[in-house]
């Protein structure tokens, strides 16, 4: 028997409101299936389930706001007997204190009388069987991670802090290495999301305020900037697009993301997290791509393993992501597990951006607007070229400017050889 819980989709998420079930009692569920939609301060997010089995009971009614970690549904594994109908007394659904019970629910509660859990409620079988270190147990509580679905890699197979954090960032750590998952999943996105899936601008502003304040409070930023000649890169895109119909065309941003990902392979110290006073490398190169939303606000969902995507796959992933971000169809695993963030102001933005690091990441890259400016070419001649100002903000606790400079130089080098991307 497994419990599907309110997931934590980010360090700043404490609770979520269940707005839609995509499963029904008695239906089978697969690992990775989208089973619910949860409204958060960052908007409605499709939530995946990591259990296989049959839905035995939905434990939380629609519209209820519950803390991270609260069991939302019970799932019976293949071959397991159906359990008693009542939820495990050790794991009661816990509505947030701020949520008033609905008038309709109150009388029935009175009729039933108080229902206290038995004094010595047995622990769920799964909790007894698994080994969890004390620190991992605490971390799981903080992140709202259900320990039953975490794979332990510690001594005697114990679940460690790293295991919990990997699980919190999504299923990536649990899946075998292979083809990237983001584009494939994109096909499951709903065509017409319901209007209530839109973002709450006030809550989003608060979330951005919290994350950015924390960043500026805790992270000693350093900044580096380079101007890159995009003549060859743009010519490459233009020539390629000329032969292709619109759906197969690339945007210059694809080259920028791919170059960034490849450059990060050579500077892994910038790809990861600052946690517990030390640097932890990211499990892959998952680029958070900052997408501004209509009506204000910003999300930075991750594209997984960008360094391993070819340009077409990356372009498809980007298109899909923008589409879903703007319509509120992002998935849980996409919001929590970026290892590095890129912000791209695009063709109508300012010439340069000094971005703010998204904690606990340790660096962020900002691309300004491509502008035509005088440039001295390799031969020493004065020419007009499309130039791009690229700005890196780094966490000085985790790296130094020397390393950051290497990243910028590598990106420049890659963009001069676009055919290699």
């Amino acid at each position: 028997m497994a419990l599907f819980r309110m997931p934590s989709l980010g360090a700043d998420m404490e609770a979520g409101t269940l707005v839609e079930w995509r499963i029904k009692t008695g239906e089978p569920v697969r690992r990775g299936q989208v089973v619910a939609v949860v409204e958060t301060q960052k908007g409605a997010i499709e939530v995946e389930c990591f259990e296989e089995g049959v839905v035995e009971e939905l434990l939380v009614p629609l519209g209820q706001k519950v803390p991270v970690g609260t069991p939302l549904a019970r799932i019976r594994g293949a071959g397991e007997e159906a359990a008693a109908a009542a939820p495990s007394p050790a794991e009661p659904a816990a509505p947030l204190a701020v949520t008033e019970p609905t008038p309709a629910a109150a009388p029935s509660a009175r009729e039933r009388g108080p229902q206290l859990p038995p004094a010595s409620a047995p622990a769920p079988a799964a909790a007894r069987a698994i080994k969890v270190t004390p620190a991992a147990r605490r971390r799981a509580l903080e992140l709202g991670v259900a320990l039953e679905r975490v794979h332990g890699t510690g001594p005697e197979g114990a679940i460690t802090v790293a295991d919990v954090e990997a699980a919190a960032r999504g299923a990536a750590a649990e899946l075998p290495p292979g083809p990237p998952v983001a584009p494939a999943r994109a096909r499951e996105a709903p065509e017409k999301p319901s209007p209530r899936h839109g973002f709450d601008p006030v809550a989003m502003r608060k979330a951005i305020a919290a994350a950015m304040s924390r960043s500026k409070r805790e992270i000693p930023h350093y900044y580096l900037e380079s101007t890159i000649d995009l003549n060859r890169a743009l010519a490459f895109v233009e020539a390629r697009n000329r032969e292709r119909p619109p759906p197969a065309r690339l945007l210059p941003a694809v080259l920028l993301l791919k170059a960034t990902a490849l450059a990060l392979r050579k500077t892994p110290e910038l790809n990861g997290f600052w946690l517990e006073g030390g640097f932890r490398p990211g499990p892959g190169i998952h680029l958070g791509w900052a997408i501004s939303l209509r009506g204000g606000g910003l999300v930075a969902p991750a594209i997984h393993d960008v360094d391993r995507l070819d340009l077409d796959a990356l372009m498809a992933a980007m298109r899909d992501l923008v589409q879903r971000a703007r319509t509120g169809g992002l998935r849980s695993s996409e919001l929590a597990d970026a290892t590095f963030t890129v912000t791209n102001l695009g063709e109508r933005g300012a010439e340069a951006v000094w971005p703010v690091i998204y904690p606990p990441q340790v660096a962020i890259l900002g691309f300004g607007r491509i502008v035509k400016r005088p440039w001295v070419d390799e031969a020493g001649g004065l020419v007009v070229r499309p130039l791009l100002r690229v700005t890196l903000a780094g966490d000085h606790r985790a790296s130094d400017g020397h390393l950051g400079s290497r990243l910028l130089a590598e990106i420049d080098d890659l963009l001069q050889r676009p055919e290699a991307l």
């Binding site: 065309r249 941003a253 009506g295 980007m318 298109r319």
Partner: protein, 82 residues
């Protein structure tokens, strides 16, 4: 294809990209990208949408012709009229 029909197709495609965009309110010589807050990805999606709905090719070199409402509708009329 009549200009009203083209205008409806464009509005339809835009609704999938920028649901709140009001294409009808845009004046003829205004830049669509500014009025409707379209970035390059949105613009590409518009081009893709029009390509799929109208079955026309829109080379990248022609993009600047599509920036104003009048320019876009003229271009589409010319393409679909061919």
């Amino acid at each position: 294809m009549r200009r009203e029909e083209l205008e409806r197709v464009v509005a339809d495609v835009l609704a999938g990209i920028a649901p709140e965009a009001d294409f009808a309110a845009v004046k003829g010589e205004d830049d669509l990208r500014d009025e409707l807050d379209l970035d390059s990805m949105d613009f590409l999606n518009l081009v893709i949408g029009l390509h799929e709905r109208l079955g026309i090719d829109i080379p990248e070199a022609d993009y600047p012709k599509l920036f104003t409402k009048n320019g876009l509708l003229d271009y589409l009329a010319a393409k679909t009229g061919q």
